[in-house]
């Protein structure tokens, strides 16, 4: 990895770290306005994080290292993904590591760490959240990997840099049936992975419906701040990945300061637009029953499979 590569990775990390709570703020604000509320303002997630960071760290009795390490691992895996994905420029992708399978698996590793922490508490809520999260995770995995397959077949590589570069070179590919189907399938997978409606309601604390929130119920203070921040970053990363794969325009081809600055700006615009769109759609959606979710995921899997077939026969 060159100096430019490390610089770009750091820039991406800082942008996602600083920007993801803002994205969350924007999404909540959009929702609030659409529902006729004033909203707490775009900066509210950052204020919450500051408040939590100042509190005393607490450890529930009977929990092990797994509980204390999970937020760190969640954060670290997300940061590792942010460092290698070409959000801003394709010129600084490391030679090994920006593989789509690796990226997907790293994000899964973070979720698994948090699920283990949920089980580690030994409370009914923790176990329930972990069980539900892992069930959804297991069912999303086929969609994700088959979607990756559909995208990588025309390129002949699962490397993110190669996929993005080849889409930039041949923009017509974005409207091929394979690409459109894969976009819808992976879009649903992103919604499920990030715990948004209709799979999970991020603003609920009702035991019948909680998934993610139940799992992290025992966290408090700085640990909770880390979990919240990492979850916001995961949302940004998933939306960013989707944008990078299906709308790669604006991603720079060099590592010059101007190109990187433009890339950062375009990335922010894309992710904000996607986030606002998602938040707007959520106003009109109700949460699916947990046992209806597999139907949604099976649908997305079929779309991903169709995308592969389409990429073979029409691509």
């Amino acid at each position: 990895m060159s100096v430019a590569g490390i610089t770009v990775a750091l820039v991406q990390a800082v942008v996602v770290l600083v920007g993801s709570p803002l994205l969350l703020g924007i999404m909540r604000q959009v929702r609030a306005r659409l529902e006729g509320r004033a909203g707490a303002g775009v900066l509210q997630p950052w204020r919450d994080l500051r408040k939590l960071m100042r509190k005393q760290p607490l450890t529930p009795r009977g929990t092990t290292e797994v509980f204390r390490m999970a937020p760190l691992v969640l954060m670290a895996t997300t940061l590792a993904v942010v460092a290698v994905v070409p959000f801003v420029t394709t010129a600084a992708v490391p030679a090994a590591g920006a593989d789509l399978f690796v990226v997907v698996a790293l994000l899964t590793l973070g979720a698994v760490a948090l699920a283990l922490a949920g089980l580690d508490t030994g409370t009914a809520f923790g176990g329930m959240g972990a069980s539900r999260e892992i069930t959804i995770l297991a069912l999303v995995e086929p969609t994700l990997l088959v979607g990756v397959l559909a995208l990588s077949v025309p390129v002949g590589s699962t490397d993110l840099g190669d996929i993005v570069t080849s889409t930039l070179r041949d923009p017509g590919r974005v409207i091929t049936p394979a690409h459109v189907l894969a976009a819808v399938a992976l879009g649903l997978a992103v919604v499920a992975e990030t715990g948004r409606l209709p799979v999970d309601n991020p603003s609920t604390h009702l035991e019948l419906t909680m998934v993610h929130e139940a799992m992290v119920l025992e966290y408090a203070g700085p640990d909770l701040a880390l979990v919240e921040l990492a979850s916001a970053m995961r949302l940004t990363v998933f939306l960013g990945l989707w944008a990078t794969l299906f709308a790669p325009w604006g991603i720079a081809g060099t590592t010059g300061p101007g190109a990187v600055a433009l890339g950062v700006a375009v990335f922010a615009v894309k992710v904000t637009a996607l986030g606002a769109g998602l938040a707007g759609a959520e106003v009109f959606l109700a949460k699916l029953r947990l046992f209806r979710t597999p139907e949604l995921l099976a649908g997305s899997f079929v779309l991903a499979l169709l995308a592969v077939v389409a990429s073979f026969f029409f691509g």
Binding site: L58, A96, G122, G156, T158
Partner: protein
């Protein structure tokens, strides 16, 4: 004599010496003698295997060992790979067995080194007679070990019966297949079989392949011949489970590769489509059973079915690519499969040994009664955690590397063989993906419910750490897991050469210590860098969080959120059953759980409930559907036969007389 011969000879001599010495030793010293002998034998075998992988060859003919055919020992690279795998598993389990105790009867202790020796002989046997002898010896010694505790528990006898029948059905299938093949060759040596296999008619070759596939698949625990695995593995002593699941089962894969690619020369594409489909079904079905299992060792046994399924997906894909003419890709797929064999052996040894320690400490395998083992058994908990990470195809784990290679082969193979691969490959990718997802669920359950949280029973609360030799055995397996996960380059060039050599193709990948790069395709992976990034990231985040949380840095222990209603009891915890309930419900149509709800009403009024009893059983549905009719038919046949056997000698003499007369008449009629 070269290093291969020396290593193999020393290994076999050590095993024999241990088998003789263990029964003679005093009762308390028997496990130590047998275990140490097994471990040393394994170490010598590893050396022999490594030498064979490095390019040394060995051919020894021992005509006097077996009447008619003799025994030929031929060590090539493929045999060397399995020699090394079996030897490495034997090292870890041998050390572990020293302290495990368990049944200390003479026969059982002598059977352990003999079992390892016969497993070492299977991949190096160079003729049909010798191969079948070693195969049967392996089945018999392992059967003795499975049945070791039959006096203590009734289930052991039943498990041993299942295993005996299944393994012998498989043996008969292999026997017929190889004899049909040998019938077309000049003698029963593998080189003769090779030249005969090349000229065989497709129909005969197909018959040979299918027969041997049935036999080898039954050994590898492939659906629908997997029924013995979830029975025999849990009931055997844990180090024997490890040997069976991590070493013996992989020899089924060896058999398929040896017969299919080597002796029969690759055959026709439908063979490999069949292998791939069997593998895919086994992978998903096995891991689904693991995800809803509540018996820790049964979970691991089902996961063995899953992993062998993944290996067969790779083997099948390799056969399809070779049939389509893309030898490089075939080499890559086979390399992925063989690497997965090695990875599976490493983590399954570790997991079974850790499960054995849990059984040793708590006396139970039931996940619903475990939990909270972190406090009493920190090393075992760490070992199982490492094994679970390695098994669940997540980065930093060993299986991730091999499954990544397999996925790369499948991705690049989509366009290789026309419509057939275009339909099969996406399904194979989906299978691997679903398997990976469910494996995560199964191992999060096993580790999270079994080891973390609070104890769910008094036995789990009293758990204590195992003796040092058992920990040392786990440490050997753990180091192997970590090495395979972080630096697959240590073994990948050798494995790649085996894969490439079978197809006469170049090495499918270039493995540097840092980066594994595919040859001829774009694709690279750096397990060490990924691990480094995650570890550095974790450290950086920990540091950053500590700096930012300026005030009151000391952690305070507080009570769990209990809604203010007093301390939570263990009965309020999520159990393995409840953890798996959503998955079980999602796959309701596949697993068909049996649920009974008994509501006992109050005597005074039926509107008042006195007690509710809920019972859930998840029977193996395939077993239910396939084996039950066969068993019923056999039993009916037996009852029919019993009617003829009344116990009267006169009647039996009469049967004999009638039979002889009938035979005479028949002879007269056809002559």
């Amino acid at each position: 004599m070269n290093a291969v011969g020396a290593g193999l000879g020393v290994a076999l001599l050590l095993a024999l010496a241990a088998a003789v010495a263990a029964p003679l030793a005093p009762r308390t010293a028997r496990p130590a003698v047998a275990g140490a002998g097994t471990a040393l034998c394994g170490a010598a075998a590893v050396l022999a295997g490594v030498a064979a992988l490095a390019g040394q060859r060995l051919t020894v003919e021992l005509p006097g060992v077996l009447p008619l055919t003799g025994l030929t020992i031929t060590v090539d690279a493929l045999g060397g790979l399995f020699l090394a795998v079996v030897g490495a598993v034997a090292v870890a389990t041998g050390i572990y067995a020293i302290g495990y105790g368990g049944p200390d009867g003479r026969g059982v202790q002598a059977a352990l080194p003999l079992f390892v020796a016969s497993m070492l002989l299977v991949p190096v046997a160079g003729n049909v007679g010798g191969f079948l002898l070693c195969w049967e010896l392996m089945a018999l010694t392992s059967l003795l070990l499975v049945a070791a505790e039959h006096r203590r528990r009734d289930e052991v006898a039943s498990a041993a019966r299942w295993y005996a029948v299944m393994t012998h059905v498989g043996f008969v299938a292999i026997l017929i297949g190889l004899v049909v093949l040998a019938g077309h060759a000049v003698d029963d040596s593998f080189p003769a079989l090779r030249s005969a296999g090349a000229q065989l008619e497709p129909a005969t070759a197909g018959l040979v392949f299918v027969l041997t596939l049935v036999g080898f698949a039954s050994k590898a625990g492939i659906v629908p011949l997997h029924a013995w695995l979830p029975r025999a593995h849990p009931e055997a002593p844990s180090h024997v489970s490890a040997l069976m699941s991590a070493a013996m089962v992989t020899l089924g894969v060896y058999g398929i590769v040896r017969v299919g690619f080597d002796l029969l020369g690759g055959g026709t594409p439908w063979w490999w489509v069949l292998v791939l489909l069997l593998g895919a079904v086994s992978a998903v079905y096995g891991i689904l059973q693991a995800a809803i299992a509540t018996d820790l060792k049964a979970l691991l046994a089902c996961s063995t079915t899953e992993n062998m399924g993944i290996v067969l997906v790779g083997v099948g894909a390799a056969g399809m690519f070779a049939g389509a003419g893309n030898l490089l890709l075939a080499g890559l797929a086979l390399t992925a499969a063989l690497l997965h064999v090695g990875n599976h052996s490493a983590f399954k040894t570790l997991l079974f040994l850790a499960a054995g320690s849990v059984l040793h400490a708590t006396g139970t395998r039931d996940l619903d009664a475990l939990g909270g083992l972190r406090a009493g058994m920190p090393v075992t908990t760490a070992a199982f955690g490492l094994g679970a990470l390695s098994a669940s195809a997540l980065p930093l784990g060993a299986a991730f590397v091999s499954e990544w290679l397999l996925l790369q082969a499948l991705v690049h193979g989509l366009a290789v063989g026309g419509v057939a691969t275009a339909i099969v490959m996406p399904l194979a990718v989906a299978t691997v993906a679903l398997t990976a997802g469910l494996a995560v669920a199964a191992f999060v359950k096993a580790f999270g419910v079994g080891f973390l949280a609070r104890p769910r029973s008094a036995a789990a609360a009293r758990a204590h750490e195992s003796p040092p030799t058992m920990l040392a055995g786990m440490a050997v397996a753990g180091v192997a897991c970590a090495a395979l996960a972080l630096a697959p380059a240590l073994v990948l060039p050798a494995v790649g050469r085996v894969g490439g050599a079978l197809f006469g193709a170049a090495d499918p990948l270039a493995a540097g210590l840092l980066v594994v790069r595919l040859q001829g395709f774009t694709g690279s992976l750096s397990p060490l860098l990924v691990a480094g990034a995650v570890l550095v990231g974790t450290a950086a985040v920990a540091l950053g969080a500590r700096l930012l949380a300026a005030r009151s840095r000391d952690r305070t222990a507080v009570r769990l959120w209990d809604c203010g209603a007093g301390p939570l009891s263990a009965r309020m915890e999520y159990t393995a059953t409840s953890f798996a309930q959503p998955l079980q419900r999602v796959f309701d149509d596949v697993v068909r759980p049996e649920q009974d709800v008994d509501v006992t009403h109050h005597r005074e009024s039926q509107y008042l409930v006195d007690a509710v009893r809920y019972r859930l059983r998840v029977p193996d549905r395939l077993e239910h559907g396939l084996y039950r009719p066969v068993l019923t038919a056999v039993a009916a046949w037996g009852r029919l036969g019993a009617r003829l056997a009344t116990g009267s000698i006169h009647l039996y003499l009469g049967y004999g007389f009638v039979a002889v007369c009938g035979l005479m008449v028949l002879l007269v009629a056809i002559r």
